[in-house]
C-alpha cells in the first residue's frame, strides 16, 4: 500500500480507468435516469466480467462436490477449488496453500479465530486487545468471547487525526494479553495502520496478531510474511470477487493447534460414535460443502487484479484520493474525517448543518452511490463525536469525473438544505 505523501515527480497514472470500466458490466447502468457513479466500494465492489464468466463456466462445465467423489467431474471440481486456494495463498504470500481457510467473509474469519483459538486460549482474567477504529465485526466476536471466558476487552485509543496511538498500544499489552486484533485499513477513516510495527510489538511478548484486511485487499498487494501477522482475514466481495466467499490466513503452527470451528462432513479423518478424529488444516475448519464457485470466482478476481498490477492500482488510487480530498476540502462547509498520514481510498466527510442521511438520498437521485451512517463502527463514531458520516470509497474503476459528479451533487445538497 503506498503512502499518502504527494510526490510531485510522480508521472501521470498509467492505469486508464476508462478502459478498466469496460470490464465491469454493471458500471454501464443508469440510476434515476443518470449515469451510475459508484462510490460505495468499501461496502462492496462491482465484479469484472472475467469473474462473472469464470463462475458461470464453473457451473456450466465443472460443477461437482469437492474432496468426495472418485468420478472425473468431482476430481475436476476439487482441482479448480484447490487451485483457487493456491492462487489466494500466492496472493497474500502465504508459505503454504494449507494456510488458506475458506470462510464466508471477514466476519466469519474473525468469528472462527475467536471461537477456536479464543475459546481454547483465553481464560478468566485474560485480555484481548482491539482498537477504537474497529468494525463491529472485529469487536462483537471478542466481546462475546470475553463474556463467556471472563476475560477483558482492552481498546487501543486513536488520535484526533485518526491514527492508532502506538505508545498507548504498547502500554496496553500485559502478560495476560492473549491476542491482538486490529484493522489493516479503516473502513471509516481510510487510515492504513502500521501493521508490521503492531505485530513486532505484540510478538516481543509472544502475543499473536489477527489483521482484519477487509478494506486493504482491493487497494494493493498484501504480504502476510512481510507483515508478520499470525492471522489475516478478508472478503472476496470487497476485492471484485463474489459475495459469500472469504479467507482466513493463519500460520500452520497456529491452525494446527486450534480445535475445529463448525463440525460435520469434510472436516474429519474418521467418525465413530465413540470418537471422531479431525482432519488437518485447512479442512478441519471447512465443515460442509464450501462455496466452490465463490472460491473459483475469487481466484479469477485476483488474477484480474494481478494482470493490471497491484502497484499500478495502488498508485492510481492514491492519486485519485488526493484529487478527491482536495476537491471535497475546497467545498464550503465540508469537513473530511480522518487525516492520517497514510490513507487508502476511503473518504468520510460531514457537511455542516446537513445530516448524512439527507446527503445520501439527494446524491442517490443524482446517480451517485455513497454510504451514510455509522458504517458499523459505533464506538468510533462516539470517539469522533459524530452521529454519522457520509463516505465515498474509491476503486480502480473510479475516475476524476466520478469525483466531479460527487462534488456537483454535494453542491445540490448545499443549495437544497444548506
Amino acid at each position: 500500500m503506498s503512502r499518502g505523501s504527494p510526490d510531485p515527480a510522480r508521472p501521470t497514472p498509467v492505469l486508464d480507468p476508462a478502459a478498466i470500466r469496460q470490464d465491469f458490466p454493471l458500471l454501464a447502468r443508469r440510476v434515476h435516469g443518470k449515469p451510475l457513479v459508484y462510490l460505495d466500494n468499501a461496502a462492496t465492489t462491482q465484479k469484472p466480467r472475467v469473474v462473472i464468466d469464470r463462475m458461470t463456466r464453473f457451473y456450466v462445465e465443472e460443477n461437482a462436490n469437492v474432496h468426495r467423489g472418485v468420478h472425473w467431474l468431482s476430481e475436476r471440481a476439487t482441482d479448480v477449488f484447490e487451485e483457487a486456494r493456491a492462487a489466494i495463498g500466492r496472493f497474500v504470500n502465504a508459505r503454504r496453500a494449507e494456510e488458506i481457510v475458506f470462510v464466508r467473509g471477514t466476519t466469519e474469519a474473525i468469528n472462527l479465530v475467536a471461537g477456536t483459538y479464543g475459546r481454547s486460549r483465553v481464560g478468566r482474567g485474560d485480555e484481548v486487545v482491539v482498537s477504537a477504529m474497529e468494525h463491529h465485526s472485529n469487536i462483537v466476536p471478542w466481546q462475546i468471547l470475553c463474556e463467556q471466558q471472563g476475560a477483558r476487552l482492552r481498546i487501543i485509543p486513536i488520535t484526533d487525526a485518526g491514527e492508532l496511538d502506538l505508545d498507548a498500544y504498547a502500554a496496553l499489552l500485559t502478560d495476560r494479553t492473549r491476542i491482538v486484533s486490529v484493522v489493516h485499513v479503516s473502513n471509516v477513516l481510510g487510515t492504513v495502520n502500521p501493521v508490521r510495527e503492531i505485530v513486532r510489538i505484540a510478538h516481543q511478548r509472544g502475543i499473536p496478531v489477527l489483521v482484519d484486511g477487509a478494506q486493504a485487499v482491493a487497494h494493493g498487494a498484501v504480504d502476510v510474511q512481510a507483515l508478520g501477522c499470525d492471522f489475516y482475514a478478508f472478503s472476496g466481495h470487497k476485492m471484485f470477487g463474489p459475495t459469500g466467499i472469504g479467507v482466513l490466513y493463519g500460520t500452520s503452527a497456529l491452525l494446527e493447534s486450534m480445535p475445529p470451528y463448525q463440525s460435520g462432513g469434510d472436516m474429519i479423518r474418521s467418525v465413530s460414535f465413540e470418537q471422531t478424529r479431525y482432519d488437518v488444516p485447512p479442512h478441519r475448519f471447512e465443515a460442509g460443502t464450501p462455496d466452490i464457485a465463490g472460491a473459483v470466482g475469487l481466484a479469477a478476481a485476483i488474477g484480474y487484479l494481478a494482470g493490471i498490477g497491484f502497484d499500478r492500482i495502488a498508485r492510481f488510487e492514491q492519486d485519485l484520493l488526493e484529487y478527491a480530498t482536495g476537491a471535497l476540502s475546497r467545498l464550503p462547509g465540508v469537513r473530511v474525517i480522518g487525516m492520517a498520514a497514510s490513507k487508502a481510498g476511503v473518504l468520510s466527510f460531514v457537511l455542516d448543518g446537513v445530516h448524512p442521511h439527507d446527503v445520501g438520498t439527494i446524491l442517490d437521485r443524482e446517480g451517485v452511490a455513497i454510504r451514510t451512517g455509522h458504517h458499523c463502527c459505533q464506538p468510533l463514531m462516539d470517539r469522533l463525536g459524530l452521529p454519522a458520516t457520509s463516505r465515498a470509497s474509491l476503486a480502480l474503476y473510479n475516475t476524476r469525473d466520478d469525483i466531479d459528479a460527487l462534488v456537483a451533487a454535494l453542491q445540490k445538497v448545499r443549495a437544497l438544505l444548506g
Binding site: H355, H357, D358, T361, R365, G373, H374, P387
Partner: protein
C-alpha cells in the same frame, strides 16, 4: 429541484428542518427517546399531559431533515389533542406512508406534506421516529425506542 426530490423535501419540511418548532426541553412531564442508530438519529420527545389532554409537546436532538421536520410538525399538531386523538393521528400518518400509493390523506392537515416519503421507503422510519417516541412518552414507558 430535480430528480423527484421535490416530493420528499417539500418547502414546509425544509422550513421546519431549518427552524424546528417546539425545539426545547419540557420539564416535569413525560419524555422518551427515539433513535435510529443506523442513520445516527436521536430525538427526545417531551409531553405534558393534563387529564388525558396534551397541554404541551416539545423535542430535542439531532437527525435528518425528515426526522426533524416530522418532530417539529408533530409537536404542533398534537398540542390540545387527547392522547387517543394523537394515537389516531399517528395511525393515519402511518397509513399515509405505508399504505398503497394515492391513498387518501384526509384529516392530516399539514402532516400531509410527508406523503412523498412513501416513495423513499428507507426514509419512512425517519418520519415515524418522533411519533414512536411520542407514543412511548405518552405510555410512560422508560427507555428508548427505535424504528429500525
Amino acid at each position: 429541484m430535480t430528480s423527484g426530490l421535490e416530493v420528499l423535501y417539500r418547502d414546509v419540511i425544509l422550513d421546519h428542518n431549518k427552524r424546528p418548532r417546539n425545539f426545547r426541553v419540557l420539564e416535569g412531564g413525560g419524555k422518551a427517546e427515539g433513535s435510529n442508530p443506523l442513520c445516527g438519529d436521536r430525538l427526545t420527545v417531551y409531553l405534558r399531559v393534563v387529564n388525558g389532554t396534551i397541554q404541551d409537546a416539545a423535542f430535542q436532538g439531532y437527525g435528518c431533515a425528515i426526522a426533524i421536520a416530522s418532530a417539529s410538525l408533530m409537536t404542533e399538531n398534537v398540542k390540545g389533542k387527547t392522547l387517543a386523538e394523537a394515537a389516531a393521528l399517528f395511525e393515519r400518518f402511518l397509513q399515509m406512508m405505508t399504505g398503497p400509493a394515492g391513498a387518501p390523506v384526509d384529516g392530516l392537515g399539514d402532516l400531509s406534506v410527508f406523503a412523498g416519503v412513501r416513495q423513499f421507503p428507507v426514509r419512512v422510519k425517519c418520519a415515524t421516529l418522533p411519533w414512536e417516541a411520542l407514543r412511548a412518552a405518552a405510555a410512560g414507558r422508560v427507555g428508548a425506542v427505535s424504528t429500525e
